[in-house]
Amino acid sequence: MSNFTVGIVVFPGSNCDRDILWALEGCLGIKTKFIWHESSDISEFDSIVLPGGFSYGDYLRCGAVARFSPLINSLIDFVKTGRRVIGICNGFQILTESGFLPGALTTNKSLDFICKDSELEIITSKGNWFNSSNNKINLPIAHGEGRYFCDEDTFKELSDNDLIALRYISNPNGSSYDIAGIINKNGNVLGLMPHPERACDNTIGGNDGLFTLKSLIESQ
């Protein structure tokens, strides 16, 4: 565990990369390293975080340009090894745009940029991303384009395979089926709109995000 290194990907426009570093190193004592998105060698990392922000200024669609970076290409093989990847907010948008996770994220129903705490229900225990002794957690959200969209067939596939990670108790953005986060079939890739890295210390409002970030160094 002491040699475990989490890679934090930095795109032009990422802005939660340092928050992730603070949460992982400062709150959990986990070694991290920033990786510029042009890097294609990510073999030294044990798990990867795609942070929030506005990669490439959200031009065209959120995550649409970032998905063509060399690093995302390398992520295909990385994911196949079973190592963990978490995409938070813009990172989730990149994971759907690049096909690691199904569905898409688009403009909030209200058109507002929503920045507040959100109460979430933990749906799956697959992948051990969340503390199964809790049914509900509180994590902050901060997005203008966080409305998860999937059609009925995709929803059925997500439900049948137990791939829905989190659901909003009170849907803030119009997401299909109240979905706030999903995982891939192997359970090693998690994408979510809420920010666990902003809920890692009680002095800033809660620590419900600690378990999820700590799971980056745990086996499934």
């Binding site: 065209l60 669609r61 649409a64 063509f68 759907t96 745009e97 199904p102 569905g103 898409a104 688009t106 403009t107 909030n108 129903k109 209200s110 058109l111 409305r147 969209f149 999937c150 059609d151 119009g174």
Partner: protein, 86 residues
Amino acid sequence: MNQFEAKVSIRLRPSVLDPAGEAIKSAASKLGVEGINSLRIGKLIEVNLEAKEEKEAKEKIELLSDRLFANKVIEDFDYDLKEINE
């Protein structure tokens, strides 16, 4: 090589809510324009490109539209393509 001009239209699929379109629709009625049943916002991308022939230009535009310009989960696209004689 021949020169081509493509105009690619990208639209949200009918099943996907367009909140920005709804906001513009509401502004249209405030302007006093009545009778608007539906208003949806899309994108127009204009591309000038080189290709040996129309078939190749078409293939390039379709690849770009399918993989980059539109997200097929939520969007559809169509395009007009013409050769430009300079």
